[in-house]
Symmetry: C2
Subunit: 335 residues, 2 copies
């Protein structure tokens, strides 16, 4: 470590706090998010989000930015922090999910910032739009899910389309961020087109606008009617998987208990299944069957087609010896 580094770390330390304020109602902010804003000298954010934390702003410098100015916001924050101030950069939802954490680090790296140079960075996590919207419509995200932004302002369309196609095929629950705007109207039509190649037209879809805010609006529809709905820049679109249902006005994706338990029989396990253990079609059971079917003459290509998995993957996993661990299952029962 040279003298200059020592001198640098001894300077008064500024700080950038990237604060996720959650969906936009004060009740759904974390204690740390409030405290971070309260201890800041400067608060920087999109005007709408600044309004949401108005009660915390007395005596602070407030920098209100428009939506185009993410990089500007990060540059302002770095300048203030380098002068020794504490800066809270506000994002709605989670700062790390399509929020300010990414652009800020991009600007910092570009400016030659390192964690040792006298400006500390803290990211304060929050509930993202997908968590907030899911909480309002039921329990749609209980199984594997994806977030995809339909905005092509920074992402080429083939990248977005490839992702939509892949997750529609692989049966994920999907949250679409930035689904539509006054000018970007065809993206949601293209998303629907890609999904309908793999999913049933009656797949449940929920459109949530302004979750936990004054103009909150929730609409249930189906995949084949999704693109006709009232969707805007403040909407998040949730598309269910092949098991998702809407019942009693709630959108719920089953976690899979019905694969193992007879739900109508007080939770008795089904034949061949054990509570707290992998399914009979889990990895080990599946591999045992794969090996047996292959030994019985089914080719790698036939197995690949039947299981809808790549043939090289089937070949590679068949080549590895099967070792069934006998450890106690007690620690391993979270679904």
């Amino acid at each position: 470590m040279n003298t200059e580094t020592v001198a640098t770390t001894a300077r008064p330390v500024g700080k950038i706090m990237l604060v996720g304020i959650g969906p936009g109602h004060v009740d759904h902010m974390t204690a740390r998010a409030r405290a971070a804003i309260a201890e800041a000298d400067v608060v920087v954010g999109y005007v709408t989000y600044i309004k949401l934390v108005a009660d915390l702003l007395e005596g602070k410098e407030v920098v209100r930015k428009g939506m185009t100015e993410e990089l500007d916001r990060a540059v302002s924050a770095l300048e203030a922090a380098r002068s020794g101030q504490k800066v809270a950069l506000i994002s709605s939802g989670d700062a790390g999910v399509y929020g300010m954490a990414g652009p800020t680090y991009e600007v910092l790296f570009q400016a030659g910032w390192t964690p040792d140079d006298g400006v500390e960075v803290e990211i304060v996590p929050g509930a993202s739009a997908l968590n907030a919207c899911a909480a309002l419509v039921g329990a749609p995200l209980t199984h594997d899910f994806c977030a995809i932004s339909l905005s092509d302002l920074l992402t080429p369309w083939p990248t977005i389309a490839r992702r939509l196609d892949a997750v529609a095929y692989a049966d994920f629950v999907v949250a679409l961020y930035n689904p539509k705007s006054g000018r970007r109207t065809r993206q949601i039509v293209e998303a629907q087109r890609l999904f309908l190649r793999h999913r049933r037209p009656d797949t449940p879809v929920a459109i949530v606008k302004s979750a936990y805010r004054r103009r909150q609006h929730i609409e249930f529809t189906t995949l084949d009617r999704m693109s006709e709905q009232d969707i805007g820049m403040l909407s998040t679109v949730l598309i269910g998987n092949s098991n998702t249902v809407v019942q009693n006005g709630l959108m719920v994706t089953p976690r899979g208990y019905a694969n193992k338990y007879d739900m109508s029989e007080g939770g008795a396990t089904r034949d061949g299944e054990k509570a707290g253990r992998s399914l009979s079609t889990g990895l080990n059971g599946w591999l045992e069957n794969l090996i047996a079917d292959h030994a019985a003459g089914e080719s790698v290509e036939q197995l690949a087609t039947r299981h809808r998995l790549p043939a090289p993957y089937i070949a590679a996993t068949l080549a590895e010896p099967l070792a069934v661990a006998e450890a106690d299952a007690a620690e391993d029962t979270e679904a």
Copy 2:
């Protein structure tokens, strides 16, 4: 509305609150999560999570359950709520993400519950493990991402494998939940095998254990070494996309500003790009080129191969007239 319904809604109302307490440190709980626990008569949860809210439990009935007993926990909650009590069912992270919201609604539907029958249900969103872990390692989730649980306790392995394969191909950032346990050790090996078919061996991976808790531990590695690492039931594994970097001990996925702006030139837009507008390779620009290339003799199949998209999709979108909206872009500049 018949008389019986009226009588039912007039009964004393019990309530089930599905509370996401965030990563597990009190600073990262929302105000509503604390208030929901404070107003509950009964608090039900996995022992570890109950300990995290110990200061709120005085005078309450506390039901500590083991990890196997998700359905039991939901049944207990429903019974208490039907007797007029307020019940807080606690999940770590977000109650809707691999948490108690799903199993609870499954049990409620099975028990014939409807929103009008005198038991109210509220879901309190929180920051999920992926938000918390991302905040600690940098900004890995700034672009499209997925959550996949490697647990095969309720999900057949081919379903999980198909999802891993699809999102590895489509270049998502991926958060693996329940990546490994004492008994489930091969799932992470299989995940690595599937990813390495599509992703570079040096793809950045972060392994976060016990985020924001006392034993918090963060390790950076690469995809080819992922399965050799110390991974357990309290770990979340974050796999970057093809653009993710680790720099200065931080894992960051670029949002895409460099596609549009020259980051070293004070943010000047690149040739052919406009600030606040779709990329030249965004949907409209891409469609214009697609139409031109097709008119110049490139077949649908050739276009499909070059853009790595399904030929029927290319054909369908070529068949739809191109309408370039001329609306003002001002409202549409969130990335």
